[in-house]
């Protein structure tokens, strides 16, 4: 119970920081001073204080969507081992439920974009679903690869397996699955080269377009939910593939060391994201499926290689 509360707090508290760190890193690499690290917290506080303007054409779905997006992201986060190898929650087969929860959140996100019948929201929803149609299977395959090796889809079990010394970092299955999941991470979190989180051009938006009609508390939940989802996916990536340093027992020292290791790994992954975002232009929308197909093919190869190089 305490673990549940602590991990919830960690998800809520840390996710805006990661968003802020990536933004700041990008700004620095672009020779800009950039917003302060804690800007996302200030934004959330501001949105939570503000009034909401809801389109008169919107139905109840529009108002419900932010809560579902937020809660599904949070629930998914509770199933991922963060600081400790034991995740506080394990429902319906772990990884499967995680992917399913994220899909549910996305479904309502897209509905929320469609509901007020604004042109941009519809475009955003349609693009999001196009991308999700390939990104989701790629993510499933990549997770299955490691699940096969661990013999379980439970994420705690998976991390425990990868912690074993017999588990080689450089085996092909491992590398391929990581590559696939990294591309999926870029797509799922709306990063360049798939989407541009910093643009003001509605016509080019994917994720942001679905949020255009949201304001106030609902916008805060949407933004926060997106940050949490990003943290969940990043955690998945660092802890499955590089579990080193994760706390295996529940003692204050182990947890403290685990937290430090976790933060360091997140920082490294954030840096990788920043580098990709700074050195790339956005792909043409119709080339995005190509990139995601690559992720899918790579994940498939990873799956095969578990049988080829057992």
């Amino acid at each position: 119970m305490i673990a549940l509360a602590l991990q919830t707090l960690l998800l809520l508290g840390l996710s805006p920081l990661v968003t802020g760190a990536i933004r700041l890193g990008k700004a620095r690499l672009q020779n800009r001073r950039g917003p302060p690290l804690w800007q996302p917290y200030a934004d959330l506080a501001k949105f939570l204080r503000k009034d909401m303007v809801v389109s008169e054409h919107a139905s109840w779905i529009f108002s419900v969507a932010p809560y579902i997006v937020f809660v599904t992201a949070l629930l998914a986060g509770l199933m991922v081992p963060m600081v400790s190898v034991a995740a506080p929650l394990s429902l319906f087969g772990g990884a499967l439920a995680l992917v399913g929860l994220l899909a549910l959140g996305r479904f309502f996100l897209a509905l929320g974009g469609l509901d007020p019948a604004s042109a941009f929201g519809g475009m955003g929803s349609s693009r999001e679903m196009t991308i999700a149609a390939i990104a989701e299977p790629a993510m499933m395959l990549a997770i299955f690869t490691v699940a096969l090796a661990a013999g379980s889809t439970d994420l705690t079990r998976i991390v425990q397996t990868t912690l074993e010394p017999a588990w080689g970092l450089a085996n092909p299955m491992h590398v391929l699955a990581f590559a696939a999941l990294f591309i999926v991470l870029l797509a799922e979190t709306g990063r360049i080269p798939i989407d541009n989180p910093a643009t003001h051009l509605e016509l080019t938006m994917i994720h942001e377009a679905m949020l255009l009609e949201y304001s106030g508390r609902q916008l805060a939940l949407m933004e926060w939910g997106a940050s949490i989802k990003q943290l969940v996916l990043m955690t998945l990536l660092v802890n499955i593939f590089f579990p080193a340093g994760i706390a295996t027992e529940i003692t204050p020292t182990a947890l403290g060391a685990g937290l430090l290791a976790y933060a360091a790994k997140l920082l490294l992954l954030s840096t990788a994201i920043v580098l990709v975002e700074t050195t790339n232009a956005k792909l043409r929308l119709f080339r995005v499926p190509d990139l995601l197909s690559i992720a899918f093919a790579v994940a498939l190869l990873a799956l095969f290689s578990t049988f080829l190089f057992p």
Partner: protein, 586 residues
């Protein structure tokens, strides 16, 4: 018939030909300046005259506008018996020096029997239509003037033949109340559908008129119908700090089937405003026509007034103008190159471009006191001189900017993702560009080899050596590459001017400007050719100032370039043209 007109050599043959061809149908011919030839034609000859000039002399119809002279005491053209012409010094700054000779007006055909409206009937109770033709290879303008009787306010449309005058003709219809005949789409344009029936550019419309709240019908966009076709309205209020314009996309999925533009949301009545100001104040107004072309517009205005006043700015002033025009070109091109990159999310290049642009703008402020070069232009020259240290700083900036810009070019070139986004995106084919009369850099990126700096050298350009880069692919990448090449040319131009800076005064006194003179001023701004045409009024005022910004000509190119592209590519296509809303709406 031999002619003793004081006109540039290039115009001699077209004039002789026109006279032979139309004989007594054309009225007075008048050349107030060597490269500016006025021909009076009857209204029904407008189309034929246009066809002849276009086919025979590849003339471009660069501007069509009207003038209300119903109450004018006399008009810009002297008529038989009216002794209105003094001798002219060599015309505008750009014209080759031809010794001035005496009266340059002459009746054509048999003098005795005037035919038609144009032929010598005093222009009382008429509107005038002006058709400005540029004969680029012949370095001269032929301006046809036709009278529209006030009791029959109609004029034939040329849009079916010259697509580029579509908006300009409709603007005349809206602002002067002259009905268009035979226009394929004669709906409201400059004044929106909900305007009351007023004609603001008529002289009897008072500038201070307060209109009642608009209650007319809203504009009906044409809808594309079909299964799965949606209309995506964008604007008129946009994200980002830009001006209003409405884009209605008809899309089937992501590909764009049709794009409708709606401009003129911020029609400010600038041309009317010019009529209320003393000429000297007009310079400041001209600066505000389009903020990113402040200096080019102000200079075009000054050029027009100087030509009307028959003065020429001293060489140093012209050199300084050239420097400022090129600085304006550089800072705008730099900004656009960055903005194109940011629209494909290659923000790193944008930040570097902004850094370079900022340095140019700071130098602008250092040289002229204003980052946008405002306040620099004035009638008869420029307001501020650059001293030795300032010129040295300018040379230094170019010297340091050149390698840094080259590095930025490399950075963009190395980004294959950026190239992939820009190449084959937003293609404006040369044929379409020529049909629409696309000017300036957008035209030159689509194979339209036109540049006033070379064809009608104004300011100091006749004494400089520079290339006019022309590309033919017409995609976003071409427009980016053209800007890149022009920046390098601008560096070279600045170096040349700074190296051979003439001494002397920076201003010539303009003095009193005689009334009822007409003059065309022109400048190749960074976006394209800018024309200001003035008719002077007594008391150093203007009876009419027509402003032609290149954006007005180029906006329709966007609807063509976007066809077949996908919606998320629109922002970068739009940015590659980077047209001015304010310059279009005025």
């Amino acid at each position: 018939m031999t002619t003793e007109f004081n006109i540039v050599a290039g115009l001699q043959r077209p004039l002789a030909e026109v006279r032979k061809m139309f004989r007594d149908r054309i009225g007075t011919v008048h050349a107030p300046r060597p490269n500016e030839l006025y021909v009076d034609i009857p209204l029904d000859l407008a189309a034929g005259f246009c066809a002849h000039l276009h086919r025979k002399w590849s003339a471009r119809l660069v501007s069509v506008f009207a003038d209300d002279v119903r109450d004018a005491m006399n008009t810009a053209f002297p008529f038989p018996g009216v002794d209105g012409l003094a001798s002219f010094p060599p015309g505008g700054s750009g014209a080759p020096a031809v010794p001035p000779n005496g009266g340059t007006t002459e009746r054509t055909g048999d003098d005795a029997k005037p035919r038609g409206v144009a032929a010598g009937v005093p222009h009382r109770g008429v509107f005038h239509l002006y058709y400005v033709y540029a004969l680029d290879q012949r370095h001269g303008f032929i301006i046809a003037r036709a009278a529209v009787p006030a009791d029959k306010p109609e004029f034939p449309s040329l849009t079916d033949a010259v697509h580029g005058v579509n908006w300009q003709e409709r603007e005349i219809q809206d602002l002067f109340g002259l009905k268009l005949l035979g226009h394929p789409n004669p709906r409201r344009c400059a004044l929106h559908d909900d305007w009351p029936e007023v004609f603001p550019l008529r002289k009897d419309f008072d500038l201070r008129t307060k209109l009642p709240p608009f209650q007319g019908p809203r504009h009906k966009f044409r809808e594309v119908e079909g299964e799965g076709v949606f209309q995506v309205p964008v604007g008129p209020v946009h994200a980002g700090i830009i001006e209003p314009g409405h884009f209605l996309f008809s899309v089937a999925g992501e590909p764009v089937l049709y794009l409708q533009l709606r401009m003129f949301y911020v029609h400010k009545g600038t041309e009317k405003l010019f009529e209320s100001l003393p000429v000297a104040h007009g310079v400041r107004l001209a600066e505000s026509i389009s903020g990113d072309s402040s200096f080019a517009h102000a200079t075009a205005f000054c050029h027009a007034v100087e030509r009307a006043a028959e003065i020429e700015p001293p060489p140093r002033a012209r050199a300084l103008r050239t420097l400022c025009l090129e600085l304006e070109r550089i800072y705008n091109h730099l900004g656009d190159i960055g903005a194109i990159c940011t629209d494909v999310a290659f923000v790193t290049a944008h930040m570097h471009a902004l850094r370079l642009k900022e340095r140019v703008m700071r130098l602008n402020e250092h040289l002229t006191g204003n980052r946008l070069l405002r306040g620099m232009a004035c009638l008869g020259g420029v307001r501020f001189d650059f001293d030795e240290s300032q010129l040295e700083q300018l040379a230094q900036l170019v010297a340091t900017l050149q390698p840094e810009f080259a590095a930025l070019v490399e950075l963009i070139r190395d980004s294959s993702g950026t190239r992939d986004r820009l190449e084959t995106t937003g293609v404006l084919t040369p044929d379409v560009a020529r049909d629409l009369g696309i000017v300036g850099l957008a035209g030159r990126a689509s194979g339209v080899d036109r540049d006033l700096r070379r064809d009608f050298p104004h300011a100091f350009y006749e004494q400089l050596r520079f290339d006019i880069p022309v590309l033919t692919a017409g995609d976003v990448q071409s427009r980016l590459a053209l800007r890149r090449e022009e920046i390098f040319q601008s560096f070279a131009i600045i170096n040349q001017v700074a190296a051979g800076m003439p001494d002397g005064p920076i201003r010539t006194a303009v003095g009193d400007i005689p009334p009822d003179r007409t003059a065309l001023g022109y400048v190749e701004g960074w976006r394209g050719e800018i024309f200001h045409w003035v008719r002077t009024a007594p008391g150093n005022r203007l009876a009419r100032c027509k402003v032609k910004d290149p954006s007005l000509q180029n906006w329709p190119a966007l609807t063509e370039a976007i066809l077949g592209n996908i919606v998320p590519d629109f922002p970068v296509v739009n940015k590659s043209f980077n047209l001015s809303y304010s310059g279009t709406d005025r």
